[in-house]
């Protein structure tokens, strides 16, 4: 069956992952033990990292091995959402929306803004599968699709709050959470909006992470 073939191919490529280091990397710059005591801000940033960004290995749509915190989140402005390639419920709408969002944010994408879409079904969404799925959405450089070991993606999913309080609902992937997280990691700014919201407003919300102090007026 097609899925098995993909899975086989995918996981052959991923085999070395199993032994990957699990260490949580320290933050760059001034932290405890690096020229003075950690400030409250340092501690807060480390806490957010510890609570929400497991530094697990993932694989990009190009098959490149990356560490979730070190390589994808640390020091960056990001968006994050979950999908699976065969999802025919809300994923098509959310992904089409993100495709519009990337166009509106093209000036910053892949420079200071990075978009991530992570699979909920790594067992069938191999590197090949997510690459093809990504191409379907005309993703520009800077919008990275990710797969990996199921247990690693599960840690990420729970870490960044894509889980339900009810374990039964949580296991039902057709009800998976359709939000888009957006944030600025070094500034510790994090929020989320629905992936099914209007693309213009998603793009505007993400832009607050680039210009956190901008003013806004909505005419009456």
């Amino acid at each position: 069956m097609d899925i098995s073939r993909r899975k086989l191919l995918g996981w052959t490529a991923l085999a070395p992952v199993a032994a990957a280091a699990e260490a949580v990397a320290g933050l760059t710059g001034k932290t405890a033990g690096m020229g003075g005591p950690a400030t409250a801000s340092d501690l807060a940033r480390q806490r957010i990292q510890r609570m929400h960004f497991p530094n697990v290995p993932l694989y990009t749509h190009e098959g490149k091995r990356v560490m979730f915190y070190d390589d994808l989140v640390k020091g960056k402005i990001v968006t994050m959402n979950f999908f699976f390639a065969r999802c025919d419920e809300i994923c098509p709408m959310v992904m089409a929306n993100l495709s519009r969002v990337q166009q509106r944010l093209a000036a910053d994408l892949n420079k200071r803004l990075f978009m991530y879409s992570l699979t909920l079904k790594p067992e069938e969404d191999t590197v090949d599968a997510i690459r093809q799925f990504r191409e379907m959405h005309h993703a520009r450089p800077g919008w990275t699709f990710l797969t990996g070991k199921p247990q690693d993606l599960e840690k990420v999913r729970r870490g960044i709050g894509f889980s339900y309080p009810n374990p039964v609902v949580d296991k039902d992937k057709t009800q998976h959470i359709g939000n888009v997280r957006y944030g600025n990691e070094p500034l510790m700014l994090w929020a989320a909006c629905p992936g099914m919201a209007h693309a213009d407003f998603i793009a505007e919300s993400v832009s607050w992470m680039i210009h956190p102090e901008q003013n806004r007026i909505q005419p009456s």
Binding site: L43, Q214, P219
Partner: protein, 648 residues
């Protein structure tokens, strides 16, 4: 099958242990303040004298952040499992006095002087010219007689002597920064203006404490406020900018059905102000941007020697802001769960910015204005005498949300959700020389809302069956959250305030026997984890419907989101609840005028509105601020000619 917050299977025994830990935590709170003898009487001490083991201090001991080196991440709540967050460090209860916020200090002038049109050249960010002076420039001068200058600032404060100084945000009226901010004392007939200046530090890697966005818009909650001064979530500004907000302090109807003075039966009393920045309201209010606004008139005078003879403000009329928070177990710093979609519960209970304070009162009547500032917890307030737990201690409900009920109602408890207020009168005479407590006995396990007892599908039955132990909605007396300790003096004092038992009359409820121009339906739901209203999401660029100025509407709020309770707030005008699930409201707190209505699981609530006097944009939203920030909000506007959108 049982799961811990890491999604790992745990045994039933372990699960029960986690629940017991929660119970133990409550016992420990009690243990900190009662004698061994009392504890025995309460049945809390075991024969061995051991109250709890160290590991059982908190349900959250199970969910501490993993030590460094581990890559485990916590998930969100599990059904029936108390809370999902970090366990705060231990703090002692009732060793610090209650802080009563000082009255806001006004200023003689503002420089530059306020202008009718937004003074963008000076850095003002306001959506439109002031409406009030356009209606009547004599009654509402552009520069009214009462002016305030409020700076939002970062400052440090101690919320418990057992925790370090916290770096949070508050309001500075020129006398120093505090949270909750200073209390406004406002009067009908005296328009006022506040210059709200964002003086928060620019966000940098060094000065952020882990949550909050220094971008603000200050909403006067429950104000009959022209839209440009309402503090709309989509009009926000960064450090160095300001907004002049015009508060006409005028009764609804003044420019429509009750011109020129307005309808006295629309009088407001307890309003509050808070940040309303779209997507960041939960973080910014949690960080301290809240305060009270008390509005008086010729009847509700603030002087027990006149008018309704309610206890004198501010000596015997005390605003109390309740919220629950979490502190890092290692550093003791205030923390906020940034990645939560459901609702956030704290394990420390603050009143007016202090964890579990005490308040020395005299044996007489007091008026208290109880406000739940969230983020997500509901409270049911009881008066508890720990030496007499079987006694129900009655007190008087005199107001709900922003206004007085027609008559006082004697109660033994009252429930409020985020952003709701109740006004109560407590007579301390029967407790002279004693110590009693204001206790929250409502059981809430997670952001879904209180444990509900709505039959077989309700969490109470579900969790009780699941766990093989009773999970009540209302906890036994003494086992809830003791919020505030009252130390009642034994020395008799004068009390010229009205005795609620004499059944004084305050205002009448405005008639709802009017045909609405339109009935609109709002379905509150969760679509793939996304909080929605009628299947749509917050968008600052879209007005979903147009209300006709000076018209009557009925709004039908429907809760399709299963187990969730949503406190729904509508700006500009108060409403009256016509029905809950087609039956007339029965709870006293449901019978008054409201600006927030609790929408319980699978409920259908019918509301009556008159939209009067002002034009412009306002929101409807869930006031569980975590839901609000995740798009459970819609913008609408008041225009000369309304539309016919029945399902906006």
């Amino acid at each position: 099958m049982y799961f811990n917050v890491f999604g790992e299977k745990v045994s039933r025994a372990r699960y029960r242990e986690m629940l017991n830990a929660a119970k133990n935590r409550r016992e420990l709170i009690a243990a900190g303040l009662t004698s061994r003898r009392t504890l025995f009487k309460m049945g809390l001490l075991t024969a061995g004298g051991m109250l709890v083991t160290q590991g059982g201090l908190s349900a959250r001991a199970q969910t501490n952040p993993p030590s460094s080196g581990s890559t485990n991440s916590p998930g969100t709540n599990q059904l029936c499992l108390p809370s999902n967050q970090t366990a705060s460090p231990a703090t002692r209860a009732f060793i610090e006095p209650l802080v009563v916020m000082p009255l806001a200090r006004n200023v003689s002038h503002l420089s530059p002087a306020p202008t009718e049109n937004p003074n963008t050249g000076a850095g003002e960010v306001r959506a439109a010219p002031f409406q009030a002076p356009q209606i009547d420039p004599v009654r509402f001068p552009v520069v009214p007689g009462t002016l305030y200058q409020f700076n939002q600032r970062q400052f440090t404060t101690r919320q418990s002597p057992d925790l370090p100084q916290q770096t949070i945000w508050g309001y500075d009226d020129g006398t120093g920064t505090r949270s909750p901010g200073p209390t406004y004392r406002a009067f009908y007939g005296s328009p006022q203006l506040t210059r709200n200046i964002n003086s928060l530090p620019a966000v940098t890697q060094v000065n952020n404490t882990g949550f909050g966005l220094p971008s603000v818009t200050t909403h006067l909650h429950n104000g009959h406020t022209p839209s440009e001064s309402d503090g709309n979530p989509c009009d926000f500004y960064g450090p160095g900018h300001f907004c002049d907000q015009y508060y006409p302090n005028v009764l609804a109807g003044f420019n429509s059905d009750h011109a020129p003075q307005g309808d006295i039966n629309e009088s407001l009393s307890t309003l509050w102000y808070h940040d309303h920045r779209v997507d960041f309201t939960s973080q910014n209010t949690y960080k301290g941007l809240i305060g009270f606004y008390c509005l008086f008139n010729q009847f509700d005078t603030g002087d027990e020697g006149s008018g309704f003879h309610l206890p004198s403000f501010p000596q015997y009329d005390i605003p109390l802001a309740f919220n629950d928070k979490v502190y890092d177990p290692e550093s003791g710093d205030l923390v906020f769960d940034l990645f939560n979609l459901d609702g956030i519960l704290g394990d420390k209970f603050l009143v007016n910015g202090k964890i579990q304070p005490f308040f020395e009162v005299q044996p007489r009547r007091y008026r208290f204005r109880l406000l739940d500032t969230g983020p997500s917890r509901f409270y049911e307030f009881f008066l508890t005498d720990l030496n007499n737990l079987n006694n129900a201690n009655p007190y008087w409900l005199i107001g709900t949300d922003g206004n007085l009920l027609p008559n006082p109602v004697q109660i033994t408890s009252v429930r409020i959700g985020p952003a709701e207020r109740v006004e109560v009168i407590i007579d301390f005479r029967p407790f002279a020389g004693k110590t009693i407590y204001l206790e929250n006995r409502l059981n809430q396990l997670n952001g879904q809302g209180p444990v509900d007892n709505f039959g077989p599908g309700g969490t109470s039955q579900e969790c009780s069956a699941n766990l093989g132990m009773t999970v009540p909605q209302i906890l036994p007396a003494g086992l809830g959250n003791l919020l505030l300790q009252f130390r009642v003096s034994s020395r008799a004092v004068a009390d010229n305030s009205v005795d609620p038992a004499t059944n004084p009359t305050f205002y009448q409820l405005p008639s709802t026997n009017v045909d609405p121009r339109i009935v609109r339906t709002f379905k509150f739901d969760r679509l793939n984890g996304q909080w929605s209203i009628n299947g749509q999401f917050m968008d600052c660029n879209q007005f979903r419907f147009a209300v006709q100025q000076n018209s009557v509407e009925q709004w039908l709020l429907m809760n399709l989101s299963g187990d969730w309770t949503h406190p729904i707030h509508i700006h500009l005008e108060e409403h009256q609840i016509l029905s809950r699930n087609r039956a007339a409201p029965t709870l006293p707190a449901d019978k008054g005028r409201k600006d927030v209505t609790q929408l319980h699981p699978n409920e259908r609530v019918q509301l009556f509105f008159r939209f009067r006097d002002w034009l412009g944009k306002y929101p409807i939203h869930c006031h569980n601020v975590v839901h609000e920030d995740h798009a459970m909000m819609a913008l609408w506007h008041v225009v000369a000619q309304g539309d016919d959108v029945r399902v906006p």
